[in-house]
Amino acid sequence: MPSDKKICLSTSGLTKIYGFGAHRTVAVDHVDLKLYEGEVVSIVGESGSGKTTLAKMLLGLISSSEGDIYFQGVKRDISSQKKKQEYWKNIQAIFQDPFSSYNIFNKIDSVLLDCIHMRGGRNLSREKKVELMTEACSFVNLKFEELTNKYPFELSGGQMQRLMIARIFLLKPKILLADEPTSMIDACSRATILDMLMQLRKEIGMTVIFITHDIGLAYYVSDTVYIMEHGRFVEFGSADEVILQPREPYTQRLINDVPKIYEEWDLSTV
């Protein structure tokens, strides 16, 4: 772990409890996370392990039951709408399902325009805005002229997800939280989208938190891997450490669950 780098985002004892009494569910249980600037961190776990809840707390979309979040060493304060907006300039997300990520009543332009406005470009001329949007679209191999004035349902899932990356390209946040960005995408588009994400990361130097259930994917993209089970981190370390020499049985199970194309699937472990 690079000790010379600054800590970008960290949590201490972060907990989220849903419900109470008999329905009390601890979704995230005293999680400590350290995120260094510029690194790619994967949080791996099966469904229900609390990955998405953790992501939403980090994003400030839901409040935590316990514990604190520190952004650049300072305790995060998102008590007002203004402070939230300020925080969201620094941290952004790509969600799992591109089809539900768009407001179906708004044209695609409005998604990108929102980003330009958020970066303080509200008073730019229309030409300048189009230029920015065209640049963002061409970064993800989309043509803005073909997308403008279209509604989200006229796009394919891959195009929608690439547009989400274009959005990040315009926003240039310090931290990107990618919540299973490729799980709804077919295998061919998956590699393209991952490559685009990594290239974008390199270009604007952002920190990426990659949330996935696919440990192979995590190994492919990340520096550090956190393994999450029942709301806790059971194992973490550099990607090589965790994946090549797993200590925990849960990690081993996750590794075994990755389907290998040259082997017959062993369904007994599933």
Binding site: L61, Q81, K89, S100, S101, F105, D114, C115, H117
Partner: protein, 416 residues
């Protein structure tokens, strides 16, 4: 948007409901252009004139006469005065007077009338006969006079100087007038009501007022329900708890009881149609609020709402652009239902006598109320209440059909 509209108009239920509703609406809009009478104008002296074409008797005297030799005219004239019931009554009197039943043939009109003319004496007392029955026989006797006469009727005029009657014109039995040449003819398709008003004109005006009341009540209820539902659903927490508490309070107290109490306390004098509509709206919102709240709760955690938050939009902006359009179809459906239940609520209130002031506008409920007070249903004056009932039924039926049709379009799982 265009696509959705196309789909809506392909739903047979919606189209049927929409057609009925538009037909009612068109009648309401177009009818007053042709019949410009005030709907509350009293034209008839007396109550409940039956539906029909009313020809001015005075004007038909002056209209050109045509001679038509119709063979069944005399038979019709006799049948009109002397139906089966009257024949049986005549037989009863004659039998009571002492004529053997075997000598009476009630189907032989001439002989029957001859026997009647010979034997009937209005002053004769028949034991056991009520005074009302005696009067009836006197009236019957009057109407039978000259029934078989072949003479025409003489129209006489009073001489202004001598005061004597002078023959002006003879109207023969074969004289006819063309109804088009009579100066004043009034068609009363639904007769008149208890005040002597034209029921159809009144009904059209009442439908118009009731639709307005329904619209106002529906809009008020939907607006309140929508606002509270959106706030409760989106903000959640304490706001949700408070709004939920109030909503439950309104649901637990039957809204009709509330409606009666409010209408009563407002007082007869200040109860105009729109005040009643607002009161209906103020008691009808809880179901809309509940339904909207449930929909918003399921929407507020969707990714597109989260993304909108991350894009720095304010709560108002998110509610208006990311929540409202998604529930718009539902809200429109709720509005349609609220309008139709608003019309029903007004009818219910008015029947109880708590509707709008009776002197200003007719409403469907008020017409029902009047018909009920004057016992139209007991007297068999169906035209005073049945068309009103049908109108209420048609309006609510068409709106419910539209609602079901919309539901099928917006909820693909319900399509058959």
């Amino acid at each position: 948007m265009k696509h959705t509209l196309q789909q809506i108009f392909r739903s047979p239920k919606f189209v049927v409901g929409f057609s009925i509703f538009m037909a009612i609406l068109l009648i309401v809009l177009i009818y007053p252009l042709f019949i410009t009478d005030s709907p509350l104008k009293i034209i008839g002296q007396g109550t409940f004139f039956p539906p029909g074409i009313y020809v001015s008797a005075y004007d038909s005297l002056g209209a050109p006469k045509f001679t038509l030799n119709l063979t069944d005219a005399a038979a019709k004239r006799v049948a009109d005065k002397l139906g089966d019931q009257e024949r049986a009554d005549i037989r009863d009197w004659l039998v009571a007077d002492g004529i053997p039943e075997t000598e009476i043939d009630i189907h032989n009109t001439e002989k029957l009338l001859e026997q009647w003319a010979q034997n009937y004496d209005p002053n004769k007392k028949i034991p056991g006969m009520t005074f009302a029955k005696q009067r009836y026989y006197q009236r019957l006797d009057e109407s039978l006079k000259g029934l078989l006469s072949k003479e025409g009727a003489i129209i006489a005029q009073k001489n202004t100087e001598t005061g004597a009657l002078e023959e002006a014109e003879i109207i023969n039995q074969t004289d006819y007038v063309n109804i088009d040449q009579v100066a004043s003819v009034r068609v009363l398709p639904l007769g008149t009501d208890n005040f002597g008003r034209d029921v159809l004109t009144e009904l059209v005006a009442a439908t118009r007022t009731s639709l307005q009341i329904g619209l106002v009540a529906g809009l008020v209820a939907t607006l309140i329900g929508l606002t509270l539902g959106l706030l409760a659903g989106y903000i959640g927490g304490t706001v949700d708890d408070i709004i939920n508490f109030v909503t439950n309070l309104f649901i637990v107290i039957p809204s009709f009881v509330l409606l009666i109490l409010i209408s009563y306390s407002v007082g007869q004098e200040s109860r105009g149609a729109f005040l009643v509509a607002t009161v209906i709206g103020l008691t009808a919102w809880p179901w809309t609020a509940r339904a909207v709240r449930a929909q918003v709760i399921s929407l507020r955690n969707r990714d597109h709402v989260n993304l909108s938050k991350l894009s720095g939009h304010s709560i108002v902006h998110i509610i208006l652009t990311d929540i409202l359009p998604y529930i718009a179809s539902y809200v429109i459906m709720a509005l349609i239902l609220q309008i139709s239940s608003g019309i029903l609520a007004e009818a219910g209130l008015s029947i109880l006598g708590l509707g709008p002031k009776t002197t200003e506008v007719p409403t469907l409920g008020l017409m029902m109320n009047w018909a009920m007070i004057y016992q139209a249903h007991v007297q068999g004056r169906w035209w005073a209440y049945f068309p009103v009932l049908m109108t209420i039924a048609l309006i609510t039926f068409s709106m419910n059909l539209m609602n079901t049709g919309l539901d099928q379009v917006f909820n693909p799982a319900l399509r058959d």
